[in-house]
Symmetry: C3
Subunit: 264 residues, 3 copies
């Protein structure tokens, strides 16, 4: 099966996503195109990077992940195709691919330079349609990333709150707010596996807020709770409500977790 | 052809629907996945149930309908697969399947218990991705519902305004407001087939509001009108406007129809 | 490959698009259905016409383009199938197809009259599902447009600001505002090909506003700029912002371009 996923800030009001799919289908008619999101905030590279990283591994091997959140379209930033052991990632070299790539085994990084794999006429404002879509479709057809352009050693990485052990605490930060108002942190649930059996304190902006529980309903309606969310990371939620609204949580707010025992 | 439909409150801003589709395609690559809606109000089981019931019969036989509006995810509510004569329905046993099921011939009801058909790691917060999606994909591949878990006699039904004859009136209520502001009732158009040829009065909250007509434009712009809508039920509309806004109509408002003749 | 594209004002909150796809798949299971937009403003025929025209040519030949923005549903307006050299267009005869058709070589225009290709029961309010979808699916299956109904000579065209040369100026108007707030005009970039090398003035509502540049970032952040957008038409943008909001631009605002030289 041939799959291309799309993660963009193109929105769904206009025809942008439709045109991208038309270009892809014109090159590779047998493909299944799957929308991850087109409602990434306008130019919000960090949110696009998180959405891609949170979903890409649920797709079968050999899927091609195209992510275009590209406020610098038309400027000098490069376009990349990154082949990993399981997938190929296509998008601008501005960090939008970087979170997903930290968990992948990278094999090849190539710049998108070979115009043979672009649309014949490339606009200055819509590389999603004119460069990334046709490149993704040609990759899907079996074109090797090696044919796309020159090699590149590394890729642009995002500033991202570091997860770290600080004395009795595991510290990190809020990196995404989902549509339910849950505040997702970058603290990996694996680090907290011992905490569920102990009393634990979750601090946001330095103040104790709630404990880690196994699910939202483990606290009364309207109360805050920490859970290991479906992405595998700690998230701060409010049972039956929006944690972001009720508690005023924002991207980059610092979060720390302390358990009663050092094994946590 | 293999079809899975999705009706959820996951929204389209985040990666949730993408991850669900990735899981499905990893199990059954030949499937066509069709979105019915992902913008059911957060936790609004009644709206999800109506959207599913209003659309499921327009799909070919053997389609699998997955509906996940699941405020109780992670609690004790069961997950179900319900095989009917024409379809299989998959979702939590909280009423979201129940309106659609009232019109189907039920053959088998099974609880989702066999973890062999789940993702290897099941989160507490995203059963749509971890349980319902892989179960739907396996059903699509030909796994029998009998393999999924133990039998169950019945399923949770929604409270729903009863349609009833009351003297000269046929009475019911508003059950859904669509994005055009049309107020859909649960009064079946079949019961009103005689009314179009006669004078009829439609009462909302006990007050006469409009008559039944064949189409929106049968009244002047801005005027209220009752029509047998595309779902087959009576709906209250305003020609060229939003009935919900203009008339303050709300879910559960009582509606009654009186015709000049008893044949209606 | 069999492709049907959809351009509608049905929205994505309700089940309308899902039902349309169910009907299509029931008739032609091998089809790939692509959404262009379902968020055309309610009844905004002009916006639907622009979205279709801006995207239809990015699809492979023989694609079927179905566009349903249809405030007159249930009234006397006809439904049409228009076969062109490359595509078939299906929709109401109210102008929604007309912009796309001005660039196509028309071969056949037929009215949708043959009920054999409709759903068995046709509602008064949802011809997208009951007439246009099944007709599009049958066309996809190979049914000839000639079987659909009687011939028609012409089709309804939209009022649209004319592009014209006025002395040293090329004049037109704003015809669409996209979700980034860019104001798209109907001034074809081909007419402005000389302007990029010269000083040029772009006037909106009679007042000089900005110059034509090759890309958004050619001006400082927050400044207005004219670019030949991805549709091939002149658009007015603000680098890093919304031109519509920052400058108060609206549909039908007059736009004129003057270059330092007559070659422009």
């Amino acid at each position: 099966v041939k799959i291309i996923t799309l993660t963009t800030d193109f929105g769904t009001k206009d025809w942008f996503v439709g045109a991208v799919k038309g270009v892809i289908l014109g090159i590779e008619p047998q493909v299944t195109v799957v929308d991850i999101s087109h409602e990434i905030g306008d130019g919000n590279i960090q949110a696009g990077a998180f959405a891609l990283a949170a979903s890409c591994r649920f797709f079968p091997r050999h899927s091609i992940h195209m992510a275009v959140v590209d406020p610098g379209v038309g400027s000098a930033r490069a376009g990349l195709a990154v082949q990993t052991e399981d997938y190929v990632f296509v998008g601008p070299d501005n960090g939008v691919l970087s979170l997903a790539l930290t968990r992948e085994k990278i094999k090849v990084i190539r710049r998108l330079e070979n115009e043979r794999y672009f649309l014949k006429s490339v606009s200055r404002t819509f590389h999603g349609r004119d460069i990334f879509a046709p490149v993704a479709a040609h990759l899907c057809q079996g074109v090797s990333p090696l044919e796309l352009g020159s090699a590149q050693e590394d890729y642009v990485k995002l500033d991202w709150p570091q997860t770290r052990q600080e004395g009795d605490y595991i510290a990190g930060g809020i990196v995404y707010v989902d549509r339910f108002g849950n505040a997702l942190t970058n603290i990996d649930g694996v680090l907290l596996s011992g905490c569920l059996k102990l009393e634990s304190a979750i601090l946001v902006n330095g103040k104790p807020l709630c404990s880690l529980k196994s699910h939202y309903q483990a606290v009364p309606l309207g109360q805050p709770v920490g859970v290991i969310g479906s992405t595998g990371f700690l998230e701060i939620a409010v049972n039956g409500g929006s944690a972001a609204e009720a508690l005023g949580l924002k991207i980059n707010d610092p979060v720390a977790v302390r358990a009663g025992s050092k094994t946590c």
